[in-house]
Amino acid sequence: MKFFSAGFLTRTYAILMKEFIQLRRDRVTFAMIVMLPIMQLLLFGYAINTTPRNLPTAVLLQESSDVGRSIIAALKNTRYFTITHQLSDEAEFDRVIRSGKVLFAIEIPANFERSLRRGDTPALLVAADATDPVAAGSALSALGRIVQTALVHDYALPQQEPALFEIRSHARYNPSANSSLNIVPGLVGVILTMTMLVFTALSVTREIERGTMETLLAMPVKPIEVMLGKILPYVLVGFIQASLIIAFGSLLFGVPVIGSLTLLAVLSTLFIATNLSIGYTFSTVAQNQLQAVQMTFMFFLPNLLLSGFMFPFAGMPNWAQTVGEFLPLTHYLRIVRAIMLKGATFAELQYDTLAMFLLMLLAMFVALRRFRTTLD
């Protein structure tokens, strides 16, 4: 049996042209194609790039010493911390942080200066409100440097490794080391997932809701032609979006593309096609456009959370990692980060490429099986 019957190309082209014209007429969608990635990039990029400033901090001084005062002065000098509370006992220490009045509480214990001078590496106790781990994270990592610099500067203590003191932070703290270098490549994948899924998720349900499906089905067109005709125009759209994000990413955030741009383009196209296929599959399952959008978000959420974009993939429990392997974004994140930041070549990315390709074929297979050529 011939897989592609005569006229396959003409009919696919007919659908493709129609989709392009409809896309062009739909001003809102058209604007979204350009605006959405830029807006997201700016919001995500700058929100995450901006180091948190003026975090409310409480200080508990258990000894009255020059070192203590010097540390506090140094904290005030950086714009990370604003000392809002001077505490007098440990009960208060717990209370202010629990009530959310401060994000940090720092305790300089008794005999800190003496231990320091003796070289005993005394502990500086820090409690961080981990409900905002990103904010806490960067300030906390800065804290060590600040104190060290203050002591070296004020007391001419030798700059030495390991540090003169230790920072003992409470367990609620989540060490998140995201940087914009890490975020921007990831954003390429996240934005593409979101927009691509929605575009095709609506494509079939829209025809059903507008009643045009009846005419379309009464004509001699095959499911595979409808599918390809509806997916292909958006591959171009996705390609434009990906280019926009990468261009702005390197322009605004200085994110480099160390590896091959061609390889990045090819694999991004594969990722775009995979998401479009999945969206199209939703479209053949959903009864109406609302359901299609809901399915999209049901799928988008695990993509966002379990792909390694929000949380380090390796840090996730096994079951979550297994789920993650079935999400195209997981594989694309590895690919895009590896190419842009580490200059990886195709040989190193074969597994993730194959995984994405298989996911695409699976989605297309389901979509073709689900597509009803009758109105039954």
């Binding site: 003409t10 042209m17 409809q22 739909d26 009464a218 009758t374």
Partner: protein, 311 residues
């Protein structure tokens, strides 16, 4: 006997159920090549469902048959190539222009020169100056013409038109029918569903469907003759009280006002004569035995079908 190749639609015992409820019951029909076949029936009688089964858009639960010689169960792809189906609701792309819609159809059917074919159809439809207008912005009449144009564009042998004139003004309706007759003269067969009685008169043959059952078919004359209905037309002034009195009287099946006159009909001629005898001598009334109208016949058929349906 008509040769088999000249029978365009030949289906037997078509039945379709939705959620266990039969919408079309045991429908058989034959349509000869080159005829305009009127498919009449009230709303919700199963016209659309039957048409959809004929062009392969719905799979019948029971029954079988052929459209254009192709099996409606297994060869729907071939049927779709040769059949132009015009849906009840306008279902071309509202956000595509007239030209773009036509070109889209031309390409899907693999016409050699889609642009030229679309242009020829624009000329034929008299859509000059409107070809760049979005289909959604056209008036009802123009939308119907465009839809007809789109389904005749690929040169089908059979047109299935589902209530093409619903909600269209009388002038546009007349033009539409003229166009259908012109197409039939070119050798096309057209099955046209409608619930306008007057449109039945424009068809070569008609079939009447109600409650999913095909109640009668043939030429208009045959349908009227088969009904075995005796009808008297009563003329005169102030007929309303008479209508009230006659309605429901034994021997009278139907009393319906037609303009300035009243149609009184029955299936039993003798009983009717007896029933109206006392009124025939009333002054100011003019009784005349007449041919029942198609509407009389259909209402009668429907009433009887409804009785069967409810029992």
């Amino acid at each position: 006997m008509v040769p088999a190749s000249d029978i365009v639609i030949d289906v037997h015992g078509l039945t379709k159920r939705f959620d266990g409820r039969a919408v079309v019951k045991n429908v058989s029909m034959q349509v000869k090549r080159g005829t305009i076949y009127g498919f009449l029936g009230p709303n919700g009688s199963g016209k659309t469902t039957t048409i959809r089964m004929l062009c392969g858009l719905l799979t019948p639960d029971e029954g079988s048959g052929k459209t254009l010689g192709y099996d409606i169960l297994t060869e729907t792809d071939k049927i779709k190539r040769q059949v132009g189906y015009m849906t009840q609701k306008f279902s071309l792309y509202q956000d595509l222009s007239v030209r773009e819609n036509l070109e889209f159809v031309a390409r899907l059917y693999g016409l050699e020169k889609p642009e030229a074919a679309a242009q020829a159809m624009i000329d034929r439809l008299g859509l000059h100056g409107r070809e760049k207008q979005l289909a959604g912005e056209l008036s009802g009449g123009w939308k119907q013409r465009l839809a007809l144009g789109a389904c005749t564009l690929p040169g089908p042998q059979l047109l299935l038109l589902d209530e093409p004139t619903a909600g269209v003004d009388p002038k546009a309706r007349r033009e539409f029918w003229n166009e259908i007759h012109a197409l039939a003269a070119e050798g096309l067969t057209a099955l046209v569903s409608t619930h306008y009685m007057d449109e039945a008169e424009r068809c070569h043959e008609i079939a009447y469907i109600a409650y999913g059952e095909l109640l009668t078919h043939g030429t208009v004359q045959e349908v009227v003759d088969h009904a075995n209905l005796t009808t008297y037309t009563v003329g005169g002034k102030n007929l309303a009280p008479l209508q009230h009195e006659l309605t429901g009287k034994p021997g009278i099946d139907m009393v319906a006002p037609f303009g300035a006159s009243l149609h009184v009909s029955s299936r039993d001629a003798k009983a009717l004569e007896a029933a109206i005898a006392p009124y025939r001598k009333q002054p100011g009334l003019k009784w005349e035995k007449s041919e029942p109208s198609l509407e009389d016949v259909f209402i009668d058929l429907m009433t009887r079908a409804k009785d069967n349906f409810q029992s």
